[in-house]
């Protein structure tokens, strides 16, 4: 059963409501911190990255358009961009970026989705239907922020194969999620041009 998302805060940030900044922290600091821990093994790097994410978020609050994506999706998109950038910069210093942690130390056992519950569950369900190679590459990129080169080194796959797995997997996911029927009809008609994913994510 899906819950309706709370009213968005970013339009209030863009409109200059100072209280919305702190409300934004209360709502999203935990998820962004979680993601930062996944992408950046060193605590200091993760903390600085989270601060960068929120400054970026506030500065670009005016770009949030609820007709394009849900606020949580917007926040996580900003966060992933900044975390990927930082991780790539750090990767130039191997000592600063060890093996990404399998799990942050204080991770609760049960993992739930942040994005709108049933939609995110649906996306994850579709991911599970992908061929193993495609699924694993996407999971390593999304869950741990690993680069194509890192994934190639980790899996032993040629770099070109990593790229093709990632691309095919993402295109397949997009096509399936555009379809109005959930996962059961994967081999059925190709994607409809419905912008459903944009409306619901």
């Amino acid at each position: 059963m899906s819950q309706s998302p709370p009213p968005p805060l970013l339009p209030r940030v863009a409109a200059g409501e100072s209280e919305a900044l702190n409300a934004c922290l209360e709502r999203y600091a935990g998820p962004v911190w979680w993601l930062a821990n996944r992408y950046l093994p060193r605590r200091a790097d993760a903390e600085e990255a989270v601060q960068d994410v929120f400054l970026d978020l506030w500065r670009h609050a005016g770009r949030f358009d609820p007709s394009v994506a849900a606020e949580k999706t917007f926040v996580l998109t900003i966060a992933r961009r900044r975390l990927i950038d930082r991780r790539r910069r750090l990767s130039a210093r191997p000592e600063a970026l060890g093996e990404p942690p399998e799990q942050p130390a204080d991770q609760p056992a049960a993992v739930e989705t942040l994005a709108i519950e049933d939609e995110s569950a649906r996306v994850r369900a579709e991911l599970a239907q992908l061929p193993d190679g495609q699924r694993e590459v996407i999971e390593m990129a999304v869950d741990r922020g690993m680069s194509q080169t890192e994934i190639a080194a980790k899996t032993g796959l040629p770099l070109g194969t990593v790229k093709s797995h990632a691309r095919r997997g993402m295109r397949t996911l997009r096509d399936r999620l555009r379809s109005p029927t959930p996962s059961s009809a994967h081999s059925a008609a190709p994607a409809s041009p419905s912008p459903r994913i944009r409306e619901t994510l």
Binding site: G16, H60, V68, E112, L127, V142, S147, A166, M170
Partner: protein, 301 residues
């Protein structure tokens, strides 16, 4: 005659969503081919459909919280952002977004947001009034330890730094190449309230200046006691840390209000190892007995 950029391909967008932009298309991330439309980093729609997909694939635990010291730093950032946004003629980042990384489709949105400056300005005036009461400089003339080896070379930079508002001082430090960030932790003390003090100290080892951001300290009556800031130096006797001045938490400060405390080392600090706050008699002391030490933060190696 310039060639119109080709729209990004689906593969470009998938790469970008999963791996981010890259300067080297042969290695990681999306193509950096200038004609691909991705050379500035991100596609026109925000987020792009593939990016939204990658975000939706992201799972986080329910009720996962950021640590208290990070939250204190974030709240301090929020305070600084409010003031900056209020003081700026136009939000610089929005302007920058409109001119640089913001794609055409986003410019209108950015411009629309820029139209909200007047509200920020109004909020900022009110905020500046409250910050004026809350964010206090440590007394410049409190307990300067007379010494012959005062850092003569830092006189100019000290004066310039002390002319800044607390928020401006913090902002300046954030862009310093010699910045050290130290998480502050609360210690058991009567001056603590709620979950206790937490925050962050920014320290510029070259300029010998810093800004401490702290939440969770009780307001004090300056006639009764004051807070005093100390800098421990690896090359000095541990019994005699360097004085950073005294400061007060005003009566109206809430437990979550972040007090920004700019400070200047009274003596040269060669290698800061720890920043601490003690509770002292009005005016501070030359040597603290450290019987009350509500907050401290150790410099990570």
């Amino acid at each position: 005659m310039s060639r119109a950029p080709r729209p990004p391909s689906l593969d470009d967008r998938a790469d970008l969503a999963l791996f981010g932009p890259s300067a080297d298309p042969n290695l990681d991330g999306a193509s950096a081919d200038p004609s691909s439309g991705l050379s500035t980093g991100w596609p026109d729609d925000f987020p792009d459909e593939f990016e939204a997909l990658a975000a939706a694939l992201t799972t986080v635990p329910a009720d996962f919280s950021a640590p208290a010291d990070l939250m204190a730093s974030l709240r301090a950032d929020a305070e600084a952002f409010k003031v900056d946004a209020a003081q700026a003629p136009a939000p610089p980042a929005l302007a920058a977004a409109a001119e640089s990384d913001a794609p055409a489709g986003a410019k209108a949105t950015a411009a629309k947001a820029a139209g909200t400056v007047s509200l920020w300005t109004l909020a900022g005036w009110a905020l500046a009034l409250s910050l004026g009461a809350l964010l206090l400089w440590p007394s410049a003339d409190v307990n300067p330890v007379p010494t012959e080896d005062s850092p003569s070379g830092t006189a100019v930079s000290e004066a310039a730094f002390e002319d800044l508002t607390p928020n401006a001082a913090r902002e300046r430090l954030l862009f310093s190449d010699s910045l050290i960030r130290v998480a502050m932790e609360g210690k058991e003390d009567d001056a603590s309230r709620g979950v206790g003090p937490a925050g962050e100290t920014l320290w510029d080892a070259v300029e010998q200046v810093g800004v401490m951001a702290l939440t969770g300290l009780k307001p004090n009556d300056p006639a009764e006691f004051q807070y005093q800031l100390w800098i421990f130096d690896a090359e000095r006797d541990e019994r005699y840390p360097v004085d950073g001045g005294v400061f007060d938490i005003p009566a109206g400060a809430g437990p979550d209000d972040a007090a920004l405390i700019p400070f200047v080392a009274r003596l040269p600090v060669n290698e800061a190892t720890l920043f601490a706050v003690t509770v002292e008699p009005p005016g501070g002391v030359v040597v603290s007995d450290r019987s009350r030490l509500p907050a401290a933060g150790t410099v990570s190696l």
